[in-house]
């Protein structure tokens, strides 16, 4: 009986075009939109860090601290490959020719008017080049002072610049995870919470006070609890498949490195699916109105996703500073946090803490729902 209900629920959901649209296609479309929006900032695998080929023209004909900074950035370290590969030219025309022939991505022209950055197009390399100039401009006074008074400490001054290059630090943070990847984590979290729709739809078919199908079911000699558990399992499996498709699409097709082994991410998202499904069951056990059963899971998913950083990745940090408990209770934030922690720091205490909180939430939601949904007589239908 369990297997039959599981199978028929599975069939019924997979043939529901709204479910397929929202749970399977929408996350893929959104992932593609994210990719087109800022994928170039993160798409390279951090393990294959791509050194930027840069040209440099100094029209001042005197020693430049900026040139020193650039030279420092050409040095590879034990942990990271060099940020830049520097090519010096004696005229802007030669540098332009090198850029046209793609020997360099872009070039700097340093003159008495300042530093000009010339790039052929936007993208990751252009961002790196612009950010270097921005950081240099900010630290210029300090560097020049050190170069003049304590030339022996110029290397430390260079470190100060490179450490503060935000693009570099973002790109190379911890285990090489970009904060932009958080958008994809938030997307996966949203996709997981979409499963709350599946579980409310399944519940509708099992409760006499919701639909005629539910009446028919409650007139049958089949255990309601068993049917709900079976429905929950089919919802989790479906959503886990959907999430796995999204993860594989992001990592393998869009080439966005999510920073952890793919099986590990899929396991975490499966827990996220269980969380979404159990949240949906809890919502369904409180709400009887069919229209609200669509609106409430939608609002729940979108609000949780927003606060997990789907639209602005720093919102989660902002919430953390003003109301950290909200991040501990927001299932989407927990899932994003868990994925980010796993990708950035590995299996730390925080990672296991997130897993534990999510597991407890799943169990808690299901216990409360089981109590509310047990077979009973209704006051009204």
């Amino acid at each position: 009986m369990f297997g039959r209900i599981f199978l028929y629920n599975f069939k019924a959901i997979i043939r529901n075009k709204y479910m397929v649209g929202w749970n399977f296609l929408f996350p893929i479309v959104l992932a593609t939109v994210f990719y087109l929006g800022f994928g170039n900032l993160i798409k390279d695998d951090p393990d294959n860090f791509d050194t930027t080929e840069v040209g440099y023209v100094n029209t001042n004909q005197e020693d430049s601290s900026f040139e020193t900074v650039l030279e420092e950035l050409t040095k590879a370290t034990d942990d990271n490959v060099a940020v830049l590969s520097l090519h010096k030219y004696d005229s802007k025309e030669k540098a332009l020719k090198a850029m046209t022939s793609e020997d360099v991505f872009g070039f700097y022209v340093e003159s008495s008017d300042g530093i000009e950055t010339i790039v052929p197009k936007n993208g990751y390399h252009a961002t790196i080049m612009n950010q270097i100039v921005r950081e240099y401009e900010n630290k210029k006074g300090v560097i020049e002072s050190i170069a003049a008074d304590h030339p022996e400490n110029i290397e430390k001054a260079m470190d100060m610049v490179t450490e503060n290059l935000s693009v570099m630090s973002e790109y190379d943070f911890g285990n090489n995870t970009s904060p932009y990847v958080q958008y994809f984590f938030a997307l996966i979290a949203m996709s997981s919470l979409f499963s709350s729709w599946i579980s409310t739809a399944i519940l509708e078919g099992l409760c006499a006070n919701m639909t005629e199908q539910g009446k028919r079911f409650e007139c049958s000699p089949t255990s309601k609890l068993m049917a709900i558990v079976s429905g929950i399992c089919s919802a989790i499996v479906l959503q886990a498949i959907s999430n796995a498709v999204v993860v594989v699409y992001v990592q393998k097709i869009l080439k966005i490195n999510l920073g952890a082994p793919i099986w590990n991410i899929i396991l975490i998202t499966t827990l996220g699916s269980a969380l979404g499904v159990s949240a949906g069951v809890l919502i369904g056990s409180f709400i009887k109105n069919q229209h609200l059963l669509i609106v409430v899971p939608l609002c729940f998913t979108m609000i949780c996703s927003f606060f997990s950083g789907l639209m602005w990745h720093q919102i989660k940090q902002y919430v953390e500073t003003i109301c950290p408990i909200f991040n501990r209770l927001n299932p989407a934030a927990l899932l994003v946090d868990c994925l980010y922690t796993r990708a950035t720091y590995g299996k730390t205490t925080m990672y296991y803490q997130d897993i534990t909180i999510m597991s407890c939430m799943v169990v808690g939601c299901l216990i409360i729902s089981a109590f509310l949904l047990r077979r009973r007589k209704y006051v009204s239908l």
């Binding site: 019924a12 005629e212 028919r216």
Partner: protein, 313 residues
């Protein structure tokens, strides 16, 4: 001696101040087709929901197959089939899958279930539509699918809650014939409707319900015989006038006259030779008239007599 399959005693169901079912009692015997007749809002569906243990009730007892009906009385539920008032099928499953799914809630044996599903499809004339999704079916076929889902497991007691609402006459006849066949095959049937013609045609016994109360109970013949001393005379009278109607009303035992197009419908209460008296009045006053007929009481007359209103008011 027949045994009670269903016994509802003194059932009361309130929605706040509103009493939906008011000390209602009903006993259904094995092999019966019991018609539960009443206007919309009379409490029929509420009674059925209480009977099926879907609704909490305030007072009374419900026993089915001599056992108290409870939400978890699976042994009782396994012998009941329910055809809901509204179509209760899964839109994304096809006809066969729908019947198989709902039959599977009762029948676990795969081979037996396959046989039952195919029999139910054949019985409802849906075999050729078994690959169709419900949305592709006409209203009548959808109703038949609703019935197939409710009866595929061959229950001993089948409850039909207004199964012919919004059904075309052809499908309605097919449904009614199917119900008679199920009864001949041994099923006891409770049939709720506000269509008296269906109930008259189908049911061996009728319970009339209004305002949640059991206001009459008996076979159709018994109920109508209570009005047997009443007579309805229909006369085609194109040139009727107030004076003629006034004159007819003065005839002994005539208690009500209603105009119906060119006809006059004259209700007589008891007495003998009412038709003769009416015709004498017309001929004596040289009033021309056409076709004349007398009508036996219908269940609607019974309902009208008991409640003072038409069944479909």
């Amino acid at each position: 001696m027949n045994t009670n399959i269903v016994a509802i005693d003194n059932l009361v169901k309130r929605y706040g101040e509103n009493v939906a079912v008011d000390h209602f009692s009903l006993h259904v015997q094995e092999g019966e087709i019991l018609g539960l007749l009443g206007p919309n809002g009379s409490g029929k569906t509420t009674t059925i929901n209480c009977l099926l243990s879907l609704l909490q009730y305030d007072k009374g007892t419900v026993t089915i197959f001599d056992k108290e009906m409870q939400p978890e009385a699976y042994d009782i539920k396994s012998q009941i089939g329910v055809v809901m008032q509204n179509v209760a099928v899964i839109d994304t499953l096809n006809v066969y899958e729908n019947v198989d799914f709902f039959c599977g809630l009762y029948i676990r044996d795969k081979k037996l279930r396959k046989q039952y599903v195919e029999e139910a499809l054949e019985f409802t004339g849906l075999t050729e539509y078994k690959k169709y999704k419900p949305k592709k079916l006409s209203g009548g076929l959808l109703r038949r699918l609703n019935i197939a889902c409710g009866i595929a497991h061959k229950p001993k007691l089948i409850i039909f809650d207004e199964p012919t609402v919004a059904v075309d006459p052809q499908s309605r006849n097919a449904i009614l014939e199917g119900i008679k066949k199920m009864n001949r095959d041994g099923a006891t049937i409770i049939y709720t409707s506000h269509y008296m013609e269906e109930v008259e045609d189908l049911c061996t016994r009728v319970v009339i319900m209004d305002h949640g109360k059991n206001i009459a109970n008996g076979t159709t013949t018994e109920l109508k015989s209570s009005l047997m001393n009443r007579e309805t005379i229909r006369i085609n009278l194109p040139n009727k006038s107030e004076d003629i109607i006034k004159g007819l009303k003065e005839i002994n035992h005539v208690y009500k006259i209603k105009e119906d197009g060119d006809d006059l419908v004259i209700k007589c209460d008891g007495g003998e030779h009412n038709l003769v008296h009416v015709l004498s009045y017309l001929t004596d006053n040289n009033i021309p008239f056409g076709h004349v007929s007398t009508e036996l009481p219908t269940l609607n007359d019974v309902f009208l007599e008991i409640t003072g209103k038409e069944l479909r008011d």
